[in-house]
Amino acid sequence: MLVLAAVLVVGAVSATPAFAHGGATSESASEIVLEAIAILEVHPGPSAAVDDKVRDALAAEDQSGVQASFVRSAGSALARGDIAATRRLLEQAVGACPDADILYVADQRARPPCVAPAHAFTLSRRSVGGTSEVVILVIAGILAVGGVAIIRHPRVRTQAERGVR
């Protein structure tokens, strides 16, 4: 943790020019996120600089090593003025391990090793796609036709539907 803090303070110094210019999208997202963390390390309060960094990180072309969903969550937390949450989410965005001790793990077992970056996955709604999707949709069509056929079958229709009174 001390090492991380030292790295962040050094990063804060080097981050100042980017902060002054309101963000540089030629930097990688991971660098910008580290700069944002560094700013928070030095100035732990709400600031437009961190907000700019969050926007820049999301806009950066090189998104490798950063989970954008965490950065977006950090932006939400910052907008609400929750600096601790912003910091934690930014750290998560660049692969820091989640707080294992908050996950309601009973204390009697050994804490597992960090599982980052697998923990950081965010999967949006993306269709199944490919041949599987076509096959599924065809099966769905057959099921729907079968269902309607049963509902409309003369032996299933009611007397009123058959015109019997």
Partner: protein, 359 residues
């Protein structure tokens, strides 16, 4: 020509005879012809099949749930990664999870509409108050299944939902001990998983057996929407109702297939404690503005109020009249309640995310 036609008739008769012999043999051992009892004709309308469709949705949930349990790991340190693995690494995992997700949505909508239909048609009235009570219990269990399912996917939204649950447990004092993270020797997530896959499905099954037994015992309630008063309503065999229900079930399955293939659910990032950056899923969104006003306790009071109202319906509306037009006060009251829930849901969806724990 005649001989060909006669041969065809004979073959048809023989085939029909074979089928009847098969059915008779089956009936002799299992009594399946007992299902051919008469039910009123209106039972075959879609509005009267919503309860049966809810049961079909439940069966779909059990089937897809069994698949998902083969890959899901309820340990808090591995749960999120196991869901990601189901989506990305398991053959048909994204699709089956999609059916489970959309099936849950369908179940919520279907049981809600079923309750509304029973309320509007006055089917809960004497002597069917017990049937209604078991129906309300089934709705509550469905709510529990939905909530626990929301938590076990173990992303940010899930942890925040569980944190709210823990807070509600504290509000319950000694009675909320089960929701304490320190209770027992197993993480709360793992315990909630057991509740989701075993306890609640078992309760649902027991309640539905009681519900169906009462439906059979009392028979279907008469429809208040029939105009040819005085004439007895024609009846149909229950097996015909079952066949139609199977048809509706296939259509429901087809819709779930399409939704699961085209818009399967995603998953948020792994949970980070101590922050509130998400909102609940839409079926639970109506309590969000109430939380804004009075904090987490709003969830508890809102849930208690809505289910108390539902349980009180047979007491509040005791008259023999079933036609909605002659029960205007109840209809207006229900419209206000449902309208308020819809309005709160829309408001909750559009308002800014807020912190509620510790309010």
């Amino acid at each position: 020509m005649t001989s060909t036609s006669e041969r065809s008739d004979e073959q048809s008769l023989a085939s029909s005879s074979r089928w009847h012999r098969f059915v008779d043999a089956f009936d002799e051992r299992l009594g399946i012809k007992g299902l051919q009892y008469p039910v009123p004709e209106h039972a075959n309308k879609l509005a009267y099949a919503l309860g049966g469709l809810t049961m079909i949705a439940f069966v779909i949930m059990v089937a897809t749930g069994i698949f998902l349990t083969q890959y899901y790991d309820p340990d808090p340190t591995r749960a999120h990664a196991s869901v990601v693995h189901i989506i990305q690494g398991v053959t048909l995992g994204r699709f089956i999870r999609g059916i489970h997700y959309w099936g849950a949505m369908a179940m919520i909508v279907l049981i809600g509409l079923h309750l509304l239909r029973v309320f509007v048609s006055g089917s809960f009235k004497r002597p069917r108050e017990g049937t209604w009570t078991f129906g309300v219990a089934l709705a509550a269990i469905t709510g529990g299944l939905f909530f626990s399912g929301t938590v076990i996917k173990w992303d940010q939204e899930a942890l925040e939902a569980l944190d709210h649950n823990v807070e509600i447990g504290k509000l319950l004092g000694k009675f909320g001990f089960w929701f304490s993270p320190t209770f027992g020797g197993t993480p709360l997530l793992s315990r909630l998983y057991v509740v989701h896959i075993a306890v609640l499905p078992a309760l649902f099954t027991l309640a539905i057996v009681a519900h169906l037994m009462l439906v059979k015992y009392h028979g279907m309630a008469p429809s208040p929407f029939r105009h040819d008063h005085g004439k007895p309503e024609p009846t149909e065999r229950f097996t015909r109702h079952l066949a139609r229900l199977a048809g509706y079930g296939l259509v429901l399955l087809a819709v779930l297939f399409v939704l699961a293939a085209l818009i399967p659910p995603g998953i948020g990032h792994a949970p980070v404690a101590g922050i509130e950056v998400t909102k609940p899923a839409w079926p639970l969104l109506w309590v969000y503005p109430i939380e804004d006003a009075i904090g987490v306790s709003g969830i508890l009071w809102a849930a208690v109020a809505i289910f108390a109202l539902l349980l009180l319906v047979p007491v509040l509306d005791r008259g023999p009249e079933r036609a909605p037009r002659r029960r205007l006060p109840m209809m207006i009251g229900a419209t206000i309640v449902v309208g308020a829930m819809v309005a709160l849901t829309i408001y909750g969806a559009t308002e800014k995310i807020a912190s509620h724990i510790g309010m």
